[in-house]
Symmetry: C2
Subunit: 377 residues, 2 copies
DNA sequence: CTGTTAGCGCCTTCAC
DNA sequence: GTGAAGGCGCTAACAG
């Protein structure tokens, strides 16, 4: 049916093995034969049969990138960065594919199964994780099994898996052939432990709240993300830590001034309305992220409130549109592209794992026009 | 190493063939054996070896979705919609993967090769195509070959391939094994022609310009997308058609009032500045899309111009943030989610092809606050 | 440096 | 309804 290796071999007057060697390039072949083979490949328009080669080699060139919401630039930027590291020029023949979990733990697991079935070379899990004991255990188990099968695991934008969830790994004693060509790549035996590129959400949220406090705000509403998500929790913790440090009394109100919702625009809109209802005197609103912040702004405007004269608003992430919002949004910048690129390199083993297997990416306060001192009334 | 079909078979006390039949589900198996097999699968945590099954069955469950810019919600929404049609509940075991071409024709081809190599079940190409004769020919050739190998091809958001580029298809005489299980699915022999879900960009642009003309605008700037892209051309054509219909004299200025740039925010910013330089008296600016429009708004504001009092601005696509911009953006809505979902169903063969293989999606004018009558000075 | 020989794990006719 | 057997296309030792 389709052109096969054998066809090419026949055309070039060599054996199939030689063609295979030329194509994979990791084996010495005479220049003359090589070009003869290449020409035959051209003429026949031969395309390797991925499944067959994956079966024989017991590895594939698929790299999975799991995202919570592909329509959200937060993930798009990271996914794009991961993929940029898999360019043919850089990493040849890798197929980085992004899978949209929609934030559902079940689908996360489903995609991992699909990827496991494909014997993926690596998997990058991006964005916040769901903090549910059962799910975490299932996730850890699946990742461990994939790692054991040689799949590299990288977490990007979520914390490392809890220690106890990954326990049980590495119980197979490593065979003793150590020191083999050390430095070029790590010893291949024993599954590589998951590597994490974490974001400093806590620190960022803390600095953002400190910024608001410094401006003089005391009644600060918080439209948080979905409960049970690591990112939601960390940002909230940073926020409250800043509050507590400044004046423990502020902390008692915090609960009342917090609402939860999805990471989308309408949650921001609804959340802001709810906060206004609970505390008409608030002077600032922090949002779970920039998209939510836009929704908050819309709600405030619809209520006849000016930003930042009447109420200050801040987001998180510093997505491209944030600087262009009217007014420009104060937010916390996460270097998503850099983080994604690094995750990509880590996934390919082109960059060595950070000490402890965890790299934390710094976040930076971007103070812009949407925050100002509160009205002096 | 890993658990295989044979292991499961042994555990369940049946043959490998039986396990295979249970798992693929398309063959009668006694209820008792079936559950025995299923239990063995559970206990052993068996996961099918994708490459092996793809090799044996000569088809895989990979579906590729090519996008020009994964960080752009325009594509994210479509990709998400395509993927939503591949949910395990709906289409079982399909792995929809999105590949980011970055708008580069070479990478588009590269990804198609990768997908071809994986014997992808289907490929969905989204967004504007590059109008370059050589590339179009190469693309058509590759798609034809993939189609011949049984891969379903769907175009979403771009026009059908030119007739002459797809010619040459179907010259291989069909093998005579017809009528096998007819009625369950279409005759599998003979490649399915590419199916297109096109957007009515021309009509949308036309209505948008008519809206501006009706408001009284005559000096209308246009920040267009990249040259050589189908979408860019179609929107521009719609715009100019409206101009010509209203007053042929307007057409002569059109060229001078058009600048080209990428589909991003900074192109909008720079483009608006350039237009202002060329025609300080313009009263409205149309943008290639909503993202570009935001850049235009930023530039105008920075020049001290109010929107829409001094200059009206309009975008295209109606991305979620457009309604929330300040002022809310007049734009043309494209039902991206619906289009993507349909493309997904088409890719799976769960929906039959539209007559002629081309479905055109309607676009709708969304007149909002960013457009108003021009100043009467 | 190149050819030969075995499988990789699964699906799919064929018999029973 | 179930088992046995061959082969999908390629890679990875081995020889030479």
């Amino acid at each position: 049916m389709a052109v096969t290796l054998a066809d090419v071999a026949a055309r070039a007057g060599v054996s199939a093995a030689t063609v295979s060697r030329v194509l994979s390039g990791n084996y010495p072949v005479a220049g003359a034969t090589r070009s003869r083979v290449l020409r035959a490949v051209e003429e026949l328009e031969y395309v390797v049969n991925g499944p067959a080669s994956a079966l024989a080699a017991a590895t594939s060139d698929l790299v999975g990138v799991l995202v919570n919401d592909i329509a959200d630039p937060f993930f798009g930027i990271m996914a794009s960065a991961v993929q940029s590291e898999m360019e043919p020029e850089k990493a040849g023949r890798k197929l980085a594919v992004v899978c949209n979990t929609g934030g559902s733990p079940e689908r996360e697991l489903t995609y991992l199964t699909l990827l496991q079935r494909q014997r993926a070379a690596a998997v990058v899990l991006t964005g916040s994780a769901v903090e549910d004991e059962k799910h975490t255990a299932a996730l850890a188990a699946r990742l461990r099994r994939m790692a054991e099968a040689g799949t590299r695991i990288v977490l990007c934008g979520r914390p490392p898996l809890p220690e106890d969830a990954v326990a049980g790994r590495g119980d197979a004693p490593r065979s003793g052939k150590a020191g083999r060509d050390a430095g070029k790549d790590e010893t291949e035996d024993g599954p590589a432990a998951p590597i994490t590129v974490a974001f400093d959400n806590r620190g960022g949220a803390r600095r953002l709240t400190e910024h608001l406090l410094a401006l003089g705000h005391r009644r600060i509403g918080y439209v948080a993300g979905p409960v049970e998500r690591t990112t939601t929790r960390h940002r909230l913790e940073g926020h409250r830590a800043a509050l507590a440090d400044h004046d423990p009394a502020l902390l008692s109100d915090a609960e009342h001034l917090t609402v939860h919702g999805a990471y989308d625009r309408s949650s921001g809109y609804d959340g802001a309305l709810e906060l206004l209802r609970r505390a008409p005197d608030l002077t600032a609103v922090l949002a779970a992220n920039d998209t939510v912040a836009l929704g908050v702004c819309a709600a405030l405007r619809d209520q006849g409130l000016r930003i930042p004269e009447d109420v200050s608003v801040a987001g998180f992430d510093d997505l491209p549109f944030s600087a262009d919002a009217a007014p420009a949004l104060t937010t916390v910048r996460i270097p998503l592209h850099e983080a994604g690129a690094r995750a990509g390199r880590l996934a390919l083993g082109r960059e060595s794992a950070p000490p402890g297997g965890v790299a934390t990416v710094r976040t930076e306060l971007m103070a812009r026009a949407s925050t100002a001192p509160p009205r002096a009334d």
